[in-house]
């Protein structure tokens, strides 16, 4: 089956991100296709490139990156939700006159139209909410 994940919970604050990542790994282990993870609401913080969690805790951002590298899972971040929370890629940082950027590939800033398309092209869209 083709799956999509909609993640709304902030990393380390809520269980949502941990559960979503475990679910994502279980999907690919079972031979399903995980098309994309769409980060929305506080879920956008999962894409923060500067996150530095303690070494004895799961590194959620690296976990998402590994899914992308090993299984081609797309990592889409809602641009409107990200910008108002201080998460910008290089292009947006430059457009808004900010000194640094906080999102980089393989996380991609995109619009909500991608979320709608993802939901409609997958057999299942699973939401992980705070």
């Amino acid at each position: 089956m083709r799956y999509g994940i909609l993640l709304l919970g902030a990393p380390y604050s809520r269980q949502a991100s941990h559960s979503a990542l475990r679910f994502a790994r279980a999907l690919v282990a079972k031979g399903h296709i995980l098309d994309s993870v769409f980060f929305y609401h506080d879920g956008v913080y999962n894409a923060a490139r500067l996150a530095a969690p303690p070494q004895d805790e799961p590194h959620l951002m690296d976990g998402w990156k590994a899914l992308h590298d090993e299984h081609g899972v797309k990592l889409d971040v809602c641009i409107a939700a990200a910008l108002r929370r201080g998460l910008l890629n290089e292009t947006e940082a430059s457009r808004h006159g900010k000194e640094g950027h906080s999102i980089e590939a393989p996380f991609a800033l995109t619009g909500l139209g991608q979320l709608v398309d993802l939901g409609l092209r997958c057999d299942r869209l699973i939401t992980f909410a705070p």
């Binding site: 909609l6 709304l8 929305y40 609401h41 409107a80 939700a81 619009g111 909500l112 139209g113 979320l115 709608v116 939901g119 409609l120 869209l125 939401t127 909410a129």
Partner: protein, 126 residues
């Protein structure tokens, strides 16, 4: 109920379970509905639990400077989002009547909610 079920067909059902203040989930859920409608998808909204309070008249900007969701709700018709369902049980629990709400709604039972979830290709819950 049969008439209601006919109305309930669509591409996307957005379920809104949070009120207009305290979190941005209502606004971000409505944003998804508007974007889907702008791309030509048939969208229905289902207000459940405290989400029903979103429809109470006069939800303007609060003292915290949030935008308020009344303006967005007023735009729904322009986006052809006309199927607004509200959870009947929540309306009773909150002491609300349809006449307290700013837009025309259809009150739905648990069975009708179940039906709505099966007659839409995609369900997103906020």
């Amino acid at each position: 109920m049969n008439d209601t079920q006919t109305d309930l067909q669509g591409d996307l059902l957005v379920i809104l379970r949070h009120g207009p203040h305290g979190s941005s989930l209502l606004r971000e859920g409505l944003d998804m509905a508007l974007v889907a409608a702008a791309f030509g998808r048939r969208v229905s909204l289902l207000f459940m639990g405290t989400g029903c309070t979103a429809l109470v008249s006069g939800q303007g900007q609060g003292p915290l400077g949030q935008k308020g969701t009344q303006a967005t709700l007023n735009m729904l018709e322009m986006y052809d989002i006309e199927t607004l369902l509200v959870e009947s049980e929540a309306m009773h629990a909150l002491g609300l009547e349809a006449c307290d709400l700013s837009l025309p709604v259809i009150e739905v039972s648990p069975a009708q909610i179940q039906a709505a979830m099966t007659t839409h290709r995609l369900v997103a819950t906020f």
